[in-house]
């Protein structure tokens, strides 16, 4: 795989990170530098080794199925940091063009 500017634009688009033309080459170079370290990993023998996703090995942590009022936010609290609100709702950018 070639880590060029086209590749950076493609991944950045997936991550919704706007990347300017002046940054793409730098990011590609840094990406390649990081991948050298990452690729070392693939050389380590791990046949028959199980992955560790979680170091404390807890499984199925249960709690009572009750409403926790101390964790609830009021509508005002939930909206207090939103850049744009409308009648108690978050306002999002339109993602579908439907004007015909």
């Amino acid at each position: 795989m070639k880590f060029d500017r086209q590749f950076v634009y493609q991944i950045a688009n997936l991550a919704k990170i706007p990347v300017g033309d002046d940054q793409a080459d730098t990011l590609a170079g840094e990406f390649e530098e990081s991948m050298k370290v990452v690729d070392q990993l693939t050389k380590i023998k791990t046949d028959g080794i199980k992955p560790t996703f979680q170091v404390n090995n807890l499984v199925n942590v249960w709690r009572e199925d009750v409403v926790e009022t101390d964790q609830m936010l009021t509508q005002a609290q939930a909206l207090q940091n939103a850049p744009r609100t409308h009648q108690g709702y978050f306002v999002v950018e339109r993602v579908i063009d439907h004007e015909a």
């Binding site: 990081s34 990993l41 850049p83």
Partner: protein, 460 residues
């Protein structure tokens, strides 16, 4: 002596003896912040006593500093990123709430690498902090503001978080104590997520006794964090030892290239541990270079997922406000988790993590604790992290293996260079859930050596 210069334990004794009040300690800390923060940039916000309503409790308003990635109720919380500029958290992190419930007061939020991405505090969107021991040098990171605030007596102690070595490394660079309990001991609820499978709150303190007194207060099971540990927490104050008779200690990583200029100081630490009665041997561990790879993959992947929530709709600013370091981490993580590559990289990294856990299990069958240098260098000069996509990973080489395994560990000063006024740290690691074993070695070492600047104020 001003009250801000006291250790936490000394301040607590003063409160109990009614020599002074918590508010007076708060006032002296505020004065120190006023004088030093314009130079050090350790705090992003300085609180008034009214910003955090003080509750009655044993700790009577003694003041602590809080790293900026802990949500603090109705108070600024931004993980040193412009994305969250102006954000006030609508709820409080469990560990902050526990401290508030015990009667502590808070001096404000400390600077850090943005999103905790880095080991110098230079990726902060609000400018780097400086090392109070030598202003030309970085304080380390990511909890660099917390370490600087402790080292400059701008608080009694400070909350930090560690994902690779972000408590221990700045402690080493600033000449203070850093201690992080096992992963899961202190709740992650309300901590702005970085790498969820390794994020661990901890404390930057002036002494090991302070760390032993404060750490249990933030630990314990939390129904709001399903990964929090339900095992009983050991009584650390009973682990404050003055000897290490009968202890077997394995010394790691002394043969790593680049360590030569500092080697003699670590060999002195080895002799000091032996003088305390411990049996010390060279221990052979897996190559820590491999842990850099594991950490890079796990951290970048989890970052790309965790930072996905910052969409500028419900809170914060748009994704175009992410700084350069966050961008490169999100982009790498997005690739590592993408279709066709997740197994090759992410799954493989988690398998190698298992190999590290097996390696530590084997080492701990031979040794009670393991020690190593905390950092491969003294505090680096400001600007060193520029143009290095893996600066933090390389700086954290000695602390990453234990961090990816979630082990309890700490850093204690083990050398002071009189020419530069900079410090080295000794990294102490113990088996999972054995916090007391770390404190035993750190406290005995601290008392037997001259490196702690609060205990040995006349010596240095």
């Amino acid at each position: 002596m001003k009250l801000n210069q006291l250790t936490f334990v000394q301040a607590l004794e003063g409160i109990k003896a009614k020599k002074f009040s918590g508010r007076e300690v708060f006032a002296d800390c505020l004065q120190a912040i006023k004088e030093k923060n314009p130079t050090l940039n350790a705090y992003l916000d300085v609180a008034t006593p009214d910003d955090f309503p003080q509750k009655p409790g044993k700790y009577a308003g003694l003041p602590l500093a809080v790293k900026d990635n802990f949500c603090t109720l109705d108070y600024y919380t931004r993980a040193s990123s412009r994305v969250l500029d102006g954000f006030r958290a609508p709820y409080q992190a469990t560990v902050v709430q526990k401290l508030a419930d015990s009667g502590f007061s808070f001096l404000g939020k400390t600077n850090m690498d943005a999103w905790a991405h880095g080991s110098s505090t230079e990726t902060s969107d609000y400018g780097p902090s400086k090392n109070p021991r030598n202003l030309k040098h970085a304080p380390g990171g990511s909890s660099g503001g917390s370490a600087a605030a402790v080292a400059a007596d701008m608080c009694l102690a400070a909350l930090g978080t560690e994902t690779a070595g972000s408590v221990r490394q700045p402690a080493a660079w600033c000449g203070c104590v850093g201690f992080r309990p096992s992963y899961g001991r202190a709740s992650r609820y309300g901590v702005i997520s970085m790498a969820s499978s390794t994020d661990s709150p901890g404390f930057l303190t002036k002494t090991v006794a302070d760390a032993a007194a404060l750490t249990p207060l933030i630990c314990g099971p939390d129904p709001h964090d399903a990964t929090s540990s339900w095992e009983p927490f050991p009584d650390l104050t009973r682990s404050l030892r003055t000897d290490l008779k009968g202890k077997k200690i394995g010394f790691l990583y002394l043969d790593i290239p680049g360590l030569e200029p500092m080697r003699a100081h670590y060999e002195q630490a080895w002799k000091d541990l032996e003088k305390l009665g411990a049996k010390v041997e060279t221990a052979k561990a897996r190559d820590p270079q491999e842990a850099i790879g594991v950490y890079t993959v796990v951290q970048r992947s989890e970052v790309s997922s965790n930072l996905g929530r910052f969409d500028g709709v419900r809170y914060g600013h748009g994704r175009d406000t992410f700084g350069a370091e966050a961008r490169r981490r999100i982009i790498l993580g997005t690739f590592l988790l993408s279709q066709g590559y997740a197994d090759k990289y992410y799954l493989q990294a988690q398998k190698v993590r298992t190999l590290f856990m097996q390696d530590f299990a084997s080492l701990f069958s031979q040794y009670d604790v393991l020690v190593s240098p905390t950092s491969p260098s003294f505090a680096k000069t400001l600007g060193s992290s520029e143009n290095s996509a893996l600066f933090g990973e390389l700086e954290d080489i000695f602390v990453e293996p234990s961090a990816i395994c979630g082990l309890p560990s700490g850093s204690v000063p083990c050398y002071h260079d009189p020419k530069t006024n900079l410090y080295l740290g000794l990294n102490v690691m113990a088996p999972y859930h054995h916090e007391q074993a770390v404190i035993e070695v750190m406290s005995a070492f601290e008392h037997a050596t001259a490196w702690n600047s609060w205990i040995n104020q006349d010596n240095l």
